[in-house]
């Protein structure tokens, strides 16, 4: 049974310009211990999908559909019921660690709080566990770090502390929203490896939200590609990277600068602008930027079985060259 079963997820926001549909009938599963990715660019709805699962949408946002975690629908829980899941069952890490860490409290006190609150540990034992976790996320000089405040650490260190904090509660699902985007490349590679090691050791399921297809390639088994609030393609990472069947996925893969193909002198991209959620066209949200669009694309294609075994939302048949 899937750890998380998301069905027909809709997220909308009431704005002065009208109702904005950020996420439209999204379905996906996260299996226990798997690493899956939600990939998309601005306006794809990838972050709002995650926020909806944890009840973190802004005031004017509303989520519909269902998200069964272990059989319980996260979308129907009250705040206090959700608090029993947040952190202990489902933890989240963010792109900017400073927004998630309390600037007024030491690293140690924030880490210990997770253990004393979620796992009802005594202070001394909590301290020991916190220290061990800092070692596990490869923080140098961990004893001194416990006494320090977040601003005294580098960006990479802060990200590690946030990961340590998320993992201390031993969540079954870790939602990581662009965890490496703000970091230097040499640090990025280390954080990716850290997540991979931890996932292997504790079989924690990870839902990675990112725009970086390179990071996905190294970390994830399955990938969900979103555009304009809808799922465009879904399936096995290797299969999709080998043979994408949606023009958007193919375009996104082509847009990544590659240092392994030095013979290709040209950086490719996708023409046009990211979708404006207030003025989405009827039909396929990608049609305006799609170079193989046909007349039929003004009606929304349904998700159908792809040759790679996953799903695709496109009227055209077969792989995209």
């Amino acid at each position: 049974m899937a750890l998380l079963e998301v069905r027909d997820l809709m997220v909308s926001f009431a704005t002065p310009e009208g109702e904005v549909h950020a996420v439209n009938s999204v379905d996906f599963d996260v299996e226990p211990g798997e690493v899956m990715a939600i990939v998309g660019e601005s306006g794809s709805g990838k972050s709002q999908t995650a926020m909806a699962l944890l009840g973190l949408l802004s005031e004017n946002g509303q989520a519909r559909g269902s998200a069964l975690f272990d059989g319980k629908d996260l979308l129907k829980l009250s705040q206090s019921e959700l608090n029993q899941y947040r952190g202990s069952q489902v933890a989240m890490i963010f792109q900017d660690p400073m927004t998630a860490l309390n600037p007024y409290r030491t690293v140690g006190s924030q880490l210990r709080e997770v253990l004393t609150c979620q796992r009802h540990m005594e202070r001394r034992q909590a301290n020991r566990e916190a220290l061990e976790m800092l070692e596990q996320v490869r923080i140098t000089d961990p004893e001194r770090r416990l006494q320090q405040f977040p601003h005294e650490l580098s960006g990479g260190m802060q990200q590690r502390v946030m990961i340590a904090m998320a993992l201390l509660a031993r969540p079954r699902l870790l939602i990581a929203d662009e965890p490496t985007t703000a970091l230097d490349v040499t640090v990025q590679a280390e954080i990716s490896e850290l997540l991979r090691d931890y996932q292997r050791r504790y079989e924690t399921a990870i839902m990675l939200i990112t725009h970086d297809l390179g990071v996905v390639a190294g970390l994830c088994e399955r990938v969900l590609v979103m555009y304009g609030g809808r799922v465009m393609e879904y399936g096995d990472v290797r299969a999709i990277y080998h043979q994408a069947e949606h023009p958007y996925t193919a375009g996104l893969l082509r847009s990544v600068p590659r240092l392994d193909r030095l013979d290709d002198e040209e950086l490719h991209g996708i023409p046009g602008n990211p979708p404006n959620l207030l003025e989405l066209p009827t039909g396929c949200p990608f049609q305006e930027r799609c170079q193989v669009a046909i007349e039929r694309c003004s009606s929304l294609p349904s998700l159908t079985r792809a040759n790679h075994g996953g799903l695709r939302r496109c009227h055209l048949e077969g792989a995209i060259e």
Binding site: E41, S42, T140, S154, G155, G156, M157, D184, V185, T186, V187, Q188, A189, E190, S192, H211, D212, L213, G214, V215, V216, A217, G218, L219, V237, R238, Y241, G251, L252, L253, S255, V256, P257, R258, L259, D260, R261, L262, D263, E265, E266, L267, H268, G269, I270, P271, N273, P274, N276, R289
Partner: protein, 347 residues
Amino acid sequence: MSAPVLTVDGLSVDYQVHIGGIFKRQHLTVHALQDVNFELYRGETLGIAGESGSGKSTLARTVLALQPARSGHVVWRGDDLLAMDREVLRAKRKEMQMIFQDPLGSLNPRLSAGEIIAEPLRTHYPRMARLQIHERVIGMMKMVGLSPEHVNRYPHEFSGGQCQRLGIARALVLNPRLLVCDEPVSALDVSIQAQILHLLKDLQKKLQLSMIFIAHDLSLLRYVSNRIMVLYLGQIMEIGDRASLYQAPRHPYTRALIQSVPIPDPERERRDRERGHRGAIPSPFMPPSGCLFHPRCPFAIERCKIERPSLRPVREGHAACHRVEELHLERDIAAPAASGDSDTAEA
């Protein structure tokens, strides 16, 4: 070859930092740039790669004389900008413009697109006629691929890529000769980056601009640069011709930067690729002894801990490494052998 338009000679920049309270106040000096030398030619693009604390943004600011230097010269078409009278400098600045990382944040939210592009003209040519300004603004919008109908729109009504086009139009309206681009596409969506990069390349060719293009890693620089400079903690680690730097990096840090960029190929990303470095970037307050990269370098020897290597000539460039003659650095993300076994690439 003709004379360089820009010569940076022995440039060093320090920052004084004060930490602590009233009693235990400490004054620290950070060497943001140390003895940086390079030349830039007409129509050439120099790519500068550096991670946080490398001094890349300090370099951009000092080249434009927005930041004082401890020592060294920034010679722009024969004149040292760092020794120049303020009024003369102001006039010279017309020739040098900058494009910033944050497309929306670098535009005044209260000005329309047209006013944003016109502002440099109004500042430097206060007597220019309104009609002439308007024509120039419309011309610039067309040139950067913005629809002239949007001249009265405000920045927040544009997408990130369009805002960056606006920033480019503003930078080019004064007909500069030098364009400094500080991470101009890193805040944009991946699918949009190529558009802006192509635009910059086209405009550079058309206008014969010299460009300094700053990036936090080496992934994008390959598509825009003629030569590349790799900075680490304020020093040049390697500078050289683009093709040879990517094919055969001569400094271990350059190689580490290449190896760290993830590539969208699951087979390769999953085999435990040697990333070519360990540990974190040291604090600029306490730079390591000897070679700045030695604590993280897999090839470091005793000498590297003691003696700081100077830049020495290598094929098509320079590298600051004691072992540059003996090391033959292999990239292990090069194209796989024809046999199809990608695991043999290291051999």
